[in-house]
Symmetry: C2
Subunit: 331 residues, 2 copies
Amino acid sequence: MATIYDVAQQAGVSAATVSRVLNGHPSVDPQLAERVRAAVEELDYRPNALARNLRRSRTSLWAVIISDVGNPFFTSLVRGVEDVAQSSGYSVVLCNSDEDPQKEANYVTVALAEQMAGVIVSPSGQAEGVKRLLDAGTPVVLIDREVPGVSVDSVLVDNEHGAAEATTHLIASGYQRIGCITGPATLSTAERRLRGYRQALTDAGRTYDEALVRHSDFREHGGYESMASLLDAGVKPDAVFVANNLMAVGALECLVARNVSVPDEMGIVGFDDLPWADLVRPALTTVGQPTYELGRTAAQLLAERIGEAEKSPSTVVLKTELHVRATSHRD
Amino acid sequence: MATIYDVAQQAGVSAATVSRVLNGHPSVDPQLAERVRAAVEELDYRPNALARNLRRSRTSLWAVIISDVGNPFFTSLVRGVEDVAQSSGYSVVLCNSDEDPQKEANYVTVALAEQMAGVIVSPSGQAEGVKRLLDAGTPVVLIDREVPGVSVDSVLVDNEHGAAEATTHLIASGYQRIGCITGPATLSTAERRLRGYRQALTDAGRTYDEALVRHSDFREHGGYESMASLLDAGVKPDAVFVANNLMAVGALECLVARNVSVPDEMGIVGFDDLPWADLVRPALTTVGQPTYELGRTAAQLLAERIGEAEKSPSTVVLKTELHVRATSHRD
DNA sequence: CTGTTAGCGCTTTCAA
DNA sequence: TTGAAAGCGCTAACAG
């Protein structure tokens, strides 16, 4: 592998000049610059990123730490991030924490150790990872989820409003006992969606019944179990607001398995869409999120933060949109 | 940020000794080692990976370059890779090439520049990226797809056999004119699956009719279009073998849109499963792949290759398994 | 078993 | 505008 000195020798200049040419430093004689470029070409020289990283003490990599690669919500989001990153000259590497704070911590350590230029993270509950990044001065943007007690750029959706809209829709569809399956109490999305659900009930003059609420894990299996638990309970709901897409799938599977007809015996609204939703029968009513836009926005915030470390953090809240399909009304 | 010298000073030893302790080099006095560990703790010292990388001229990162983050096939595979990587002391970063050779080339450049310890790649058609990695001496494992003319560790499934089994199943179910929607001719999987389909027809004494074959892009939309094109053609098929999961979804959506009843008017078998397949109606018959196992195996090969650069490359072929569901038989 | 020393390849003052 | 030289933080010969 050719080094910068080989190029310098070949071009008859110093390594410093080669470096200047390579990094677009203006004050270089065009003739010399041309000789350097020719030498680079000839030797097929590739700068050693490791040495450059060490010297500059940063890389041109962004880490995106997501909490579940298997959730299509994140894949669309990642596309949004990638598109912005590319046009800003960064490459994106994905890290899958699998909702495991330990794995998340590992990836934070990697991002720190490799001195990534920036990190976009959907934190799996604990503030610790985000705090470590912030303390080290790494530009960070939170996506999808908040963490309490830290001041940091964030991109969220209007979870409470979306959840309330979903619940109100179920009420308007004539359902009487509306339950809720939400996620881990440690996640802001789970809590906010639960709050929106509760608020909508209260606003409609309904009583909020703790017995109709389940906390689960935002995974398919958890949705299945929670629905089963709801069906086996004393007071059965006749509709359920399910606070994420994977759990909605699980809940539907449970209803199919138990021969509970949807939407007649049980109405369902999920949060976040599914791919190939059109093929799922009955078609699932959802609170749609602008996933690609979430990714784009987070990436833009990150780029700005990198450019200007001192500016005060901003939180962008994007709107959700109710997609009424078949599972939420009886007509 | 504390450096290794700060730790050395704090512990009253040399930087070399600190390095030895940190890297588990055996010949260190336990007492000194203990002092070093205490100093590390006290200063909250984190080794600078950039410096270490430069010195060792490699990182402890694996890159997994996949061709479509949106395809659940890859997400399961990634889990398999991660599990092995973790237990071998590597971290996995994901790179999404989106079936775009240009993006793939960029990520290869990143992997090379950052001197990743190893790369697992499902190449998007061209051999160029893989060749560059190999030429640079980077340990590489191919997954899911072959590239012609390079000798490299690979993990594949038995595409021809799986496709033939699917086609034979359609024949046995009484379908007469069986078509095929396959992927880009540049991808080995697309070609092998097409070959398996053709072979099965021939073996059954059927004629192979080029007019019933479509090459598409392994994406949902492409499957939709191809199915539409097949329906609009002079000789309509009464069953179709679709060579990947996303295109099968697209094809089904087209059939729903056109009011073609499945499996009565049209039988369908897809290649590779879908998540929440149980909810898709009618339930899709598929050629199942051991996705997690593919990832695990690739990771193991990579670990071995890193350990022993000179061993001759091996190709592991895993078995597929036909999952007969509702879309492929009329009874 | 431990310390001294010499770089890994690059960028960036500083002087010319 | 250019080059010489220092050094980012770590590891690995080589001595001792």
